[in-house]
């Protein structure tokens, strides 16, 4: 076996060589990990968990962490849009209504009927699915662009119907228990961990769907409906699927919101109104519709900065519509000139930096043409 003939000329010269080899091996391993995006999501989750731990220990401002938690809830909603807007090119204005369904289901399950979180979770999803299936099926039968109109309508209807049921929903802390065991009461800090865990799970699921036959089918549908249909992709099925995924995420976010905030007043809060749906849409577009990190970044820009920093500044507290204005301007600018959003911007910056480094290496006169 020639493979065992030692090529003397490749031997390590001095010990430095050996050390260089081991560093190379570690770098190779890190590179392999880096190529797997799931690692990124896990690291993100770990950072958040550590932040909360530090906060419980009193080292980090707890209202700051609370703001992060609230933003994460909206991140969950935005993730649902990755597949809907980024991969299937469908716009939906119904998010707020489905968040409402999740919140109210949680309220009824926990406060009124004394059931566990698990039941609340399942019920929110099931009811959201039923409503979404009907609405989605009817509007997608005609054409994709009607989805926005129909979801706008259903969101308004849901808000009014829910308001008619009960205007203000409250959950007592004692009612939130894990698996219904009284001794395992969950405080706000513990809910933060649940939010982070759910966020990680949904990031992984979204990432997996994007890189699966389903994700590719959606992209095919978005780019060329004829090609998609010619190769077996039923437009109705995949559009409906993308829509259902987005509303399930919204319902889960509604549930998390109720667990975390425990109180919301339908008439005075903007959570269930059109402005939430618009803000989420804005966040997704600004961040980059197709990219998971993009939507997370976009959500932090639209909601996070406001909650984490701007609330401390009086000017912004008195003019809450400033955020809306800012969001709207960014959306229009991004769609007109930079459809890929922040994600595209960062990618282009990365390419430019790489090109710059390459140029430096090759010197002023480019690669050696021999």
């Amino acid at each position: 076996m020639n493979k065992l003939n030692r090529n003397y000329l490749n031997m390590p010269l001095y010990r430095a060589e050996n050390e260089r080899r081991s560093v190379e091996n570690t770098l190779a391993l890190l590179n392999k990990l880096r190529k797997n995006p799931v690692v990124g999501y896990v690291i993100f989750a770990l950072i958040l968990t550590v932040t909360q731990i530090l906060s419980s220990a009193g080292l980090v401002n707890s209202s700051f962490v609370y703001a992060i938690g609230s933003t994460l809830i909206f991140c969950v909603v935005s993730l649902g849009f990755c597949l809907l807007l980024g991969y299937s090119a469908l716009a939906s204005l119904g998010t707020a209504g489905f968040i409402g369904i999740g919140a109210y289901c949680t309220y009824y399950c926990l406060a009124e009927w004394g059931l566990t979180i698990g039941v609340a979770f399942i019920m929110s999803i099931v009811i959201a699915l039923i409503v979404g299936a009907i609405v989605g099926y009817i509007s997608l039968r005609i054409e994709g662009i009607y989805l926005a109109i129909v979801t706008l309508g259903i969101s308004q209807i849901i808000k009014e119907v829910l308001a008619a049921l009960v205007d203000t929903i409250k959950i007592k802390g004692s009612q939130i228990t894990l698996f219904g065991i009284d001794s395992l009461k969950l405080k706000t800090e513990s809910i933060f961990y649940i939010i982070v865990g759910m966020m990680l799970l949904l990031m992984i699921i979204t990432h997996n769907i994007m890189n699966s036959p389903t994700g590719r089918a959606m992209l095919a549908m978005k780019n060329s409906t004829s090609a998609a249909q010619a190769f077996g992709i039923s437009l109705m099925k995949y559009r409906l699927l993308a829509f259902m995924i987005s509303i399930i995420y919204a319902a889960i976010a509604g549930m998390l919101f109720m667990l975390y905030n425990r109180y919301v007043s339908n008439s005075s809060s903007t959570l269930f109104t059109l402005s939430t749906s618009l803000n989420i849409l804005g966040a997704v577009i600004i961040g980059g519709m197709k990219s998971i990190w993009g939507t997370v970044a976009g959500t932090f820009i639209i909601y996070g900065i406001d909650k984490m920093f701007l609330q401390d500044i009086e000017f912004f507290r008195e003019n809450p519509t400033l955020i809306t204005l800012f969001c709207g301007i960014l959306v229009v600018v991004v769609i007109m000139f930079y459809p890929g959003g922040l994600a595209q911007l960062l990618m282009e910056v990365k390419y430019k930096v790489e090109a710059f480094i390459r140029k430096k290496k090759e010197g002023k006169y480019g690669k050696d043409l021999g």
């Binding site: 090119a89 469908l90 716009a91 204005l93 009907i134 609405v135 009817i138 509007s139 039968r141 005609i142 662009i145 009607y146 926005a148 109109i149 129909v150 706008l152 309508g153 259903i154 308004q156 209807i157 009014e160 119907v161 008619a164 004829s226 109104t273 059109l274 402005s275 618009l278 803000n279 849409l281 804005g282 577009i285 003019n319 519509t321 400033l322 955020i323 809306t324 204005l325 800012f326 969001c327 709207g328 301007i329 960014l330 959306v331 229009v332 769609i335 007109m336 000139f337 459809p339």
Partner: protein, 303 residues
């Protein structure tokens, strides 16, 4: 006697129905010429109303006069949107246009508190053309003068615009552009002007609708026209965007359904909370039955 109450409900719906019909026409016009749903329609209409209300309440000018100003401002805003934004985007496709209109909602909602002093007021009174207590009584039914004015204005505008659409050169250009923009351009129609003017007309119709609307509802925020706008879109789907008159019929049907359910609610008061849901549900059933609208035709796409 229930008949009187039924009629009263019917009369009561007329102001919002008039607003809805005008909004529907505006939405249809933009949909057919720019191939996009204009989600900012409601906010632009509200801006028209805000201009009128600002001039009336802050500067004391009569409502009649300032209503025209509001309409003109809305016209200009509409044209500006088409010319400044839609014509300048690099990669704007149908979905992109939809999203731009959604972004415009946010922009205008954000701007309203800064531009209009009226937005800072604690509460804005309703501003009908003639005070709501004045009207004529027919039998047991009281019809406000304001309602009659709304009806007359709406009918006049609708008739005028449909006559123009059918008989005038402008109307022909609009119908040609709506049918196929590229071919219309080749026939010598200046489609850019037609589209921009359509946006302006849509804006002004919306402003008229809003001005009529605030006769019965206080101008509390930029979102007041949301329900009307939703009804307008649903009317469009119900009637079918294939024609100009289809959505108008759709709007009438939707508001009449509201009346119908309202009448039923007199006897079954518990349903009144569910009225919007029931109407929506019935509209969805109708759309399920006829996906391309009651007056629509299926269009076959060339592959």
């Amino acid at each position: 006697m229930p008949i009187a109450s039924y009629l009263q409900i019917l009369i009561g719906v007329i102001p919002s129905m008039c607003a809805g019909i005008l909004a529907t026409f505006a939405v249809t016009l933009i949909f057919k010429t720019s191939y996009t749903t204009n989600f900012a329609q409601g906010v632009i209409s509200a801006i028209g109303a805000y201009v009128a209300v600002e001039l009336t309440l802050v500067y004391g000018l009569p409502l009649w006069a300032v209503a025209f100003v509001g309409v003109i401002v809305a016209f200009i805003v509409g044209v500006a949107i088409d010319v400044l934004i839609f014509r300048n985007g690099r990669y704007v496709n149908a979905l992109g246009k939809q999203i731009i209109t959604m972004g415009l909602i946010s922009i205008f909602i954000g701007l309203i508190p800064f531009v209009f002093k009226v937005a800072q007021f604690e509460s804005v009174p309703v501003l009908p053309f003639i005070h709501l207590t004045q009207g004529i009584t027919v039998g047991d039914v009281f019809i406000q003068y304001n309602t009659i004015i709304s009806l007359v204005v709406t009918v006049v505008l609708l008739v005028a615009v449909f006559i123009l659409l059918q008989k005038s050169k402008w109307g022909l250009s609009v119908r040609a552009t709506a049918s196929n923009e590229i071919v219309a351009g080749m026939m010598g129609i200046n489609t850019k002007v037609i589209t921009a003017v359509s946006w302006g007309i849509a804006g002004s119709f919306g402003a008229v609708a809003a001005t009529l609307y605030i006769g019965n509802v206080t101008l509390s925020s930029g979102y007041i026209m949301t329900t009307t706008q939703i009804n307008a879109f649903l009317a469009g789907i119900l009637g079918g965007f294939a024609t100009f008159y289809g959505p108008i019929f759709g709007a009438v049907i939707i508001y009449m359904l509201n009346v119908l359910i309202g009448c039923i609610c007199i006897h079954v008061p518990v349903l009144s909370n569910w009225k919007p849901a029931i109407v929506y549900f019935i509209v969805m059933l109708l759309v399920l039955w006829k996906p391309h609208g009651l007056f629509g035709k299926k269009m076959v796409k060339k592959v």
